[in-house]
């Protein structure tokens, strides 16, 4: 009854508003419409700027990596494990293997924990407990990675070198792929938890009531209804986590041990695509071909991370359309 739909918002000359004359009102309207027109251009400009920026970055990377691609075949570089810029040998394979190792290991450790913790926070924790646990998770997600790197050096490196590797019958100097994976799992899990909690909590209570209302238990409700309804969100949380581990730079650079050969075991030292760039950064200026090679690595990273994000978006949209949650 009292709902005022504000089409026209007072411009259509309501009776009972005497102070401004019709002239003044139409001048004002003119001005308001001008602002309206301008604002849409402004916003369009801002939006285009973001796209242009992305396009420029990609363009620069592509243009800068042309020299290396024209001299060495991409396939050969990707499958060669010989990295020696002085001899113009650019094998990316060790870095690719290291990146895959780190990503898979940390996601394998982080994902189950993230999902379980998200279920706990969203569905089981109540009141003060919930507040405390989730605020700690948010704090964890906000800690700069370099601090995790430092703590990793002090705690995780000796743990892996002295206990974990010997316990599993392997040898490790402490620095290496497993160490990085552990620390990256710790970094990326809170991030995935937050996103998953968000998508669980966004589900309408009616969904819970519907399932509980036919006599399902809480766990049955979570397993068959909530996880599926929140599936798109949780899945994209995991893919975004993937992207983050994949592009992680500082922690691998600190803890992976920097070795340019293909690692024999996950306990070995190694390298990832980002650490390859960081470690050889100093040589960029002196050897143009190396610069081009490193930029190509950057391009590969960018494309893959972008694919992850894009994939996350596609899957989320598809599943959302299917179940409409």
């Amino acid at each position: 009854m009292s709902s005022t739909t504000d089409h026209g918002a007072g411009t259509d000359g309501n009776p009972g508003t005497p102070p401004s004359t019709d002239d003044a009102r139409s001048d004002r309207l003119e001005w308001r419409l001008t602002i309206e027109r301008l604002s849409s251009y402004w916003l369009l400009g801002a939006g285009l700027f973001a796209i242009a920026l992305f396009g420029l970055i990609v363009l620069t990377l592509v243009q800068q990596s042309i020299p290396i691609v024209s001299e060495h075949s991409l396939l050969e570089m990707v499958t060669s494990s010989n990295w020696d810029p002085a001899q113009e040998e650019f094998g990316f394979l060790p870095a690719i293997v290291g990146t895959i190792y780190v990503t898979v290991l940390s996601m394998a450790m982080g994902t189950p924990i993230a999902i379980l913790a998200a279920i706990y926070i969203a569905e089981y924790a109540e009141g003060r407990t919930k507040m405390i646990v989730s605020s700690f998770i948010d704090v964890l997600a906000a800690i700069p990675s370099v601090i995790f790197g430092l703590v990793g050096l002090i705690v995780v490196v000796p743990f892996v070198g002295d206990y974990l590797a010997p316990a599993l019958g392997a040898h490790s100097i402490g620095l290496g792929i497993v160490t990085v994976s552990l620390v990256m799992a710790i970094i990326v899990t809170p991030f995935m938890i937050s996103l998953s909690v968000e998508s669980l909590e966004a589900l309408p209570d009616e969904l819970r009531e519907s399932s509980l209302g036919v006599g399902a238990t809480k766990w049955e409700t979570i397993r068959s209804v909530l996880l599926r309804a929140a599936g798109p969100g949780i899945f994209s949380a995991i893919l975004l986590g993937f992207g983050r581990v994949f592009g992680a730079t500082i922690v691998p650079a600190m803890l992976i041990g920097g070795q340019t050969a293909i690692p024999d075991s996950p306990f070995d030292a190694g390298e990832t695509l980002p650490t390859l760039i960081v470690n050889d950064f100093g040589e960029l200026m002196s050897l143009p071909l190396t610069q081009s090679a490193l930029i190509l690595v950057g391009l590969m990273l960018l494309v893959i991370v972008w694919l992850f994000n894009f994939g996350a978006m596609l899957v989320r949209r598809r599943l959302k359309r299917r179940w409409q949650y």
Binding site: M1, S210, S211, L212, G213, G215
Partner: protein
């Protein structure tokens, strides 16, 4: 109507102890007759939904809900009981206000509860799904698309699907929370027809904002005001010869309009919001979390 009530509340008291303490139900004792349709009416914020949900303890999914009193269910009790909660909720089913498909196929939406409770063979399950969908007059519309997602149906169809889902676990009582308020008039009418036919077999307790709907469907009416029971009577007496002054006021004040109050659309967070937030008419779930 019938000798023994299907459900009887005794001094039921529900308090939400969130930031503010809100007494949603203040000592409500009322009988719900068997195989009849009882409508719970009253203005927003009077505790209708709370009463409904407390009958099968669904309000417990909200944190900070405290309850005193008892609900008697046959010769059993709902609260002080050894009977496990899922079994109580199977026997006292609940259909929410918003048409809510589970994220699965139409077939599985109906079979969901049944699969949980019983060991059905594929054929038995097929039969059950068909029977339930026929009971809610939906079978003809979905017969050849049972594998489509539930969400692909129209809201009116979804609401009947929800009824079918509840029926599939063979409940004795159905709690319906304003099941037509989110529907267009035609779908609402179909759902009303379904309820009308279901009450021969089930005890139905429904919350409604629409006095007309209560007049059309209800055998008994329960009128709540600010968490207290004002009047519970059979529908004829209630509308034609109301006993309480407040009922008279309420009926004469709102009887002519279809909806009791504009802001009634607020739906079920009534227990916690006494300021009506205009923007959130639709889904006050945030308050409920």
């Amino acid at each position: 109507m019938s000798n023994q009530p299907a459900l009887r509340t005794e001094n039921l008291e529900v308090t939400y102890t969130g930031n503010r303490k809100v007494t949603a139900l203040d000592g409500v004792s009322v009988d719900f007759a068997e195989n009849a349709l009882t409508a719970i009416i009253g203005p927003s914020g009077c505790g209708k939904s709370t009463l409904l949900k407390s009958l099968n303890r669904l309000h417990e999914i909200q944190p900070n809900a405290e309850i005193a009193g008892e609900v008697h269910f046959g010769d059993q009790t709902v609260y002080d009981t050894d009977d496990p909660l899922p079994e109580i909720r199977r026997r006292i089913g609940y259909v929410p206000q918003t048409p809510t498909p589970l994220p699965m196929s139409i077939y599985n939406n109906v079979a969901y509860g049944a699969k949980i409770h019983g060991d059905y063979s594929r054929e038995e399950l097929d039969d059950l799904v068909e029977t339930c969908l026929r009971k809610v007059n939906l079978w003809d519309e979905v017969e050849d698309r049972l594998d489509d997602p539930g969400a692909a149906l129209s809201t009116g169809q979804i609401q009947r699907l929800c009824l079918a889902r509840s029926l599939a676990v063979e409940p004795e009582i159905l709690l319906c929370d304003e099941v037509t308020s989110a529907l267009d008039p035609i779908s609402a009418e179909q759902v009303e027809e379904t309820l009308e036919s279901l009450k021969e077999e089930y005890t139905i307790i429904m919350v409604t904002h629409s006095m007309d709907q209560a007049r059309r469907l209800a055998d008994d009416v329960v009128f709540l005001y600010l968490g207290e029971l004002v009047e519970a009577n059979d529908a004829r007496t209630f509308f034609e010869n109301p006993q309480a002054d407040r009922t008279k006021e309420f009926i004469s004040g709102h009887g002519a309009s279809t909806y009791l109050e504009k802001s009634s659309d607020e739906s079920d967070s009534e227990t916690q919001t006494d300021e009506q937030v205009d923007g959130s008419r639709d889904r006050p779930t945030a308050v409920e979390q």
